[in-house]
Symmetry: C2
DNA sequence: GTCTATATCTTGATAGAC
DNA sequence: GTCTATCAAGATATAGAC
């Protein structure tokens, strides 16, 4: 039985928007059904329960914001390393700014993760991907003698913290030049006369 | 009529914990009353509605995490500036780590703020306090020629993003040395041969 | 696949006695 | 101030016809 029909996609897309607008709890099957234009019990043909449906949405959400999705180590060159790192950060900031639902949905999933270990575990994976991912990236830069090994891990984590939190700050205050913050963060990490043991 | 009784405090403290454990929606008046050891309608003697009560808790929560609460510009000296900044950050990290409910409650309020402008407005105030606060702090350091004016605003914002997000990351992964990340971030900002125009 | 009808539970809130 | 009793609304989920 093939269940990846248009109806199923319509339910998931509509739910994504309704979660952003009203939160998970208030995005009821009644509301979703009304918005999609079907009856409430029809949703149960595609999903076992509301929990099941929310979790499938969550899995899809996570796969689209992985470290690898944005930062591919193979695309970095010795000559343009920091410039490329700045550019990829810009793309990430832009992509999240272009999806008006992204921030709200993220906040909903984060509050879910605070109380549910399934969600929490997935977020831990995601976070460690970013922490380790930036570390691998800077190690590559160190191989090319672009930065020293000293404090390399801490620098990687600073970049992870900054790029991650820019999205949160953007939601509340859009008068700040976040691209410039990211650019400065990368430049500080790649300073020639940087921190030394 | 004096309503700041022990019962009122018990209700608020219990609610704070229950929100951390079950989220705002599932922290029902029935559950709160049971936990406090009173009947459900008794809560209405102290609060007009659930919204009223949650918002009062939110106001108290916000006042306890203001920039001024941690970073008082008058306590910084020319000789020990960066060391003091590192130390105050350590205290902030420690204080949040000591309250096991803090992170979860914060996530709940953030998801509320995504859909309610009253909450959102208060969070914007808080965020701008931190952004402006760090900027004022670095301006003071610049007056003392401890850092150049170039990229000063961006550096201040980097510090705000890092210290704020450390709390979020700590919740998911406690194997990372977050104190060292903060220390490195401050050191990068205060590098003698830093960024220049 | 999609529907109508309905069961069951939980919620925030009120009435009114003491 | 605190209680018992109760209401109306909204939630998830199921039964069963088409």
């Amino acid at each position: 039985m093939e269940k990846n029909t248009d109806t199923r996609l319509a339910i998931m897309n509509t739910t994504y928007q309704l979660i952003a607008e009203h939160g998970i709890q208030k995005a009821s099957f009644a509301l979703i059904a009304k918005e999609v234009g079907i009856s409430k019990p029809s949703i149960y043909y595609y999903f076992d329960s509301k929990n099941d449906m929310i979790y499938q949405l969550f899995e899809q959400f996570c796969s689209e914001i992985s470290f690898q999705h944005f930062f591919n180590a193979e695309h970095f060159t010795q000559e343009q390393f920091s410039t490329q790192l700045i550019e990829v950060g810009f793309q990430m900031i832009q992509e999240q700014a272009n999806d008006p639902y992204f921030g709200n949905v993220m906040k909903e999933f984060l509050s879910l993760a605070a109380r549910d270990d399934s969600y929490k575990g997935r977020f831990i994976e995601l976070q460690q991907d970013y922490l380790k991912g930036f570390e691998q990236l800077l190690l590559k830069a160190a191989d090319w003698s672009l930065i020293p090994l000293y404090s390399l891990t801490e620098k990687a984590h600073i970049l992870a913290l900054v790029i991650d939190n820019i999205g949160n700050f953007m939601m509340l205050d859009d008068t700040v030049d976040y691209r410039n913050i990211w650019k400065t963060a990368v430049q500080l990490v790649f300073l020639e006369d940087g921190l030394h043991g």
